[in-house]
């Protein structure tokens, strides 16, 4: 397990000078993940904040070979890259000396929604790659529209908190469970505030041959109507309230990697975020209760699965 001094001593593969918002949760995730292996890395990125923000021509923040082709196909694109790597290596057209690993990045829209099919296909085919979803809970790049990862009750531009409808009415899709059902060797949820846990999981995923998956909580000051300096604290609260449990499923066995000593009420996470402001007005408590009940249920379910072979 690397410590921060060691990690800081490594080359920065994701440079500053990108145009992501101040306080964006994505870069700490990417910087750390790119440092978690000594293998060569090649990445694809789905259309979205990470792609737009880091490669505005003629500038790129990526000190690794990087490709973006479209929104819904980060996984299919990396499938092609990874396959080409195997083909060219087999034919002696690229040097075989250093191991190369592949990462596909995508936001929650590009992963849970429009890119789900391409992700599923690439996982099933067994490409040697890590898919990393940075989940900021909405289509942020296009102006905060709801996705199937958006938390219930959230105000977004397509699930606005109105006079009649109080924000998003549906519970979020549990993508990590869907991925686990593909029988992949490794899938996990992580959060940037817990850098040790995230680094460990990324290192593990990148050491495995085959398809692996990380779903990482990614705070978004713009879309969450939160303060930029609070991003990492909000990531922490998402795990302390058990809204975003940290766990991994390795070879089908469930392990919860963080259990808060004291599970905090969901209000603690909701309150600092303007997207939930309406829930703190008269009548909102019903929705908060509903959210809390759902979180409790899912957390209990997870604890119940702890240590078990779930796939």
């Amino acid at each position: 397990m690397a410590n921060l001094k060691e990690l800081a001593g490594k080359k920065e593969l994701f440079t500053g000078g990108h145009r992501l918002c101040a306080g964006c949760g994505i870069p700490p995730i990417v910087r750390l993940v790119l440092r978690s292996t000594d293998a060569n890395l090649v990445a694809s990125t789905a259309t979205g904040c990470l792609e737009v923000g880091t490669t505005i021509y003629p500038y790129s923040s990526w000190r690794i070979p990087w490709i973006h082709s479209a929104f819904e196909n980060s996984a299919a694109t990396i499938s092609g890259v990874e396959t080409a790597y195997r083909a060219l290596k087999k034919r002696g057209r690229i040097p075989a000396d250093k191991e190369t690993k592949f990462i596909a990045f995508g936001g929650d829209g590009g992963t849970y929604d429009i890119g789900l099919q391409s992700l599923s296909g690439a996982l099933e085919r067994g490409h040697d790659f890590l898919y990393l979803c940075y989940d900021n809970g909405a289509y942020m790049n296009t102006g905060i529209q709801r996705s199937s990862a958006t938390p219930m009750g959230s105000n977004t531009t397509t699930s606005p908190a109105g006079e009649v409808i109080p924000g998003k009415e549906e519970w979020r899709k549990d993508l990590t469970r869907i991925v686990v059902a593909h029988n992949v060797p490794y899938a996990a949820q992580a959060s940037p505030h817990n850098w040790k846990d995230l680094e460990k999981k990324a290192a593990k995923a990148l050491a495995i041959k085959g398809p692996t998956f990380l779903n990482v909580m990614s705070p978004c000051p713009l879309g969450w109507y939160s303060k930029p300096e609070d991003s990492i604290q909000l990531a922490k609260l998402s795990t302390d309230t058990c809204y975003w449990p940290l766990y991994e499923v390795e070879d089908g066995v469930m392990k919860v990697t963080y259990k808060p000593r004291e599970k905090k009420p969901i209000e603690d996470w909701l309150k600092p975020q303007g997207r939930f402001k309406h829930l703190f007005k008269p009548g909102g408590d019903v929705i908060i209760e509903k959210i809390q009940a759902q979180i409790d249920r899912e957390w209990e379910r997870l604890l119940d699965l702890e240590g078990r072979q779930i796939f």
């Binding site: 021509y57 490709i67 196909n73 080409a84 099933e124």
Partner: protein, 395 residues
């Protein structure tokens, strides 16, 4: 250079000829997804992979969108990439077709032409590839099984020279499933003709100096890249001619940008794509016997459009019918009609041009159909007026 001309004669369907060509090329990567009537190409190719007859990496993707996405990823990584599809498959790739050409990736795709739904239909027409005509792909149309086979080799050379993707089109069922006695080229000669693929830049080429592909370009840069792409398309026309000439010299089969039949002294002509050309030629022969000066112009290269060559070929004619196996639904004729008509606009004494939509969804196009179009054209010449500029025929 040893010109082993066409060696062995074989009876092959269009699909098996294309699969054989792919086998002989032995590309690095082949993303594959089935759809009638091109399925046999990827099935046959899959068995070549399974039997170790090629060492291509096959990616059995979960959709055509992913087939083209994976093609893009693999081509960007420096691989020679080939795939095949038809109809709905090509339509599902639509978004990615533009990205393949915009990123200047020399992917070769065989499109076995099939009608687009709705109503769903598996038979031949050209609505699929016509829908992709502005996607920045070079488009080669093939009349026969022989030409489909030959075009695949030329496509690889053209694509890699101009760094644009190339689509080889052949008619669903009519060509894809019909057995034709055709000449094959030896594996060694194929390899010699296509050569090794060594792209100047690629994702995997130099890990120490990483590149970024697919960046966001704003109004300050976007147009420059589009201009480059447009210029590459213009250059592609010369490259198609050069590569076809080299092919003819090596293998003895000549292909131009266009294929003119009995046009020199013709008064009227049909302009057409693909397999229906043969049927039209039969009508020409019969009418010629009766003394009518009729001819055919087949378009082999549609993207880029050899507009000057089209104008030169149709110069001096009195009336021309463009036969489209696709409708533009614009109430103004099919795509071929519009482009041919526009190509001849600057001729001093230009022929009258009419649009006839035929053979949609696999509807038969017979010698009589061609003949009746010629009769219409002769009437136009006689009366000097066009009664119906656009019309559905074979219905």
């Amino acid at each position: 250079m040893a010109t082993e001309k066409s060696n062995e004669m074989q009876g092959l369907t269009g699909n098996s000829a294309v699969a054989l060509a792919m086998k002989q090329i032995n590309p690095d990567v082949c993303p594959a997804y089935p759809i009638t009537p091109s399925t046999a190409i990827i099935e046959t190719f899959s068995s070549y992979v399974a039997d170790g007859e090629v060492d291509t990496e096959l990616i059995t993707v979960e959709s055509e969108h992913s087939a083209m996405s994976a093609s893009i990823g693999a081509a960007a990584a420096g691989a020679r990439v080939m795939t095949a599809t038809s109809s709905q498959g090509l339509a599902l790739m639509w978004e990615m077709l533009y990205i393949a050409s915009g990123l200047r990736l020399p992917i070769v795709l065989t499109n076995v032409n099939r009608a687009l739904a709705a109503p769903i239909n598996i038979h031949c027409d050209h609505s699929d590839s016509m829908g992709a005509r502005d996607s920045g792909w070079v488009q080669l149309y093939s009349e026969t099984v022989q030409e489909s086979y030959d075009n695949v080799f030329m496509a690889v050379r053209i694509a890699e020279k101009v760094r644009l993707p190339v689509m080889v089109c052949l008619d669903g069922f009519i060509t894809s499933h019909a057995i034709e006695n055709m000449a094959t080229i030896s594996d060694a000669n194929v390899q010699d003709f296509v050569g090794e693929y060594t792209p100047e830049t690629s994702l995997l080429k130099d890990m120490e100096n990483p590149i970024s592909i697919g960046a966001m370009t704003l109004p300050d840069y976007y147009m420059t890249f589009k201009k480059q792409q447009s210029e590459a398309m213009a250059e592609a026309k010369d490259v198609v001619e050069e590569v076809s000439a080299e092919f003819a010299q090596k293998f003895g089969r000549e292909y131009g940008l266009l294929d003119s039949y009995e046009l020199e002294d013709a008064d009227v002509a049909i302009v057409i794509f693909n397999s229906a050309t043969g049927t039209t030629k039969v009508a020409v022969d019969e009418l010629r016997k009766e003394g009518f000066k009729v001819g055919v112009l087949r378009i082999r290269l549609f993207r880029p459009l050899p507009h000057a060559e089209i104008a030169a070929a149709l110069k001096g004619l009195k009336a021309v019918a463009c036969l489209d196996r696709a409708d533009s639904f614009n109430d103004f004729g099919g795509p071929l009609f519009n482009e041919v008509r526009s190509s001849i606009y600057d001729l001093e004494d230009r022929p009258k041009v009419i649009s006839r939509i035929y053979g949609l969804g696999g509807r038969d196009y017979k010698v009589e159909d061609a003949k009746s179009v010629f009769e219409e054209l002769l009437k136009v010449v006689e009366t000097g007026t066009v009664e119906e500029m656009t019309k559905y025929i074979t219905i």
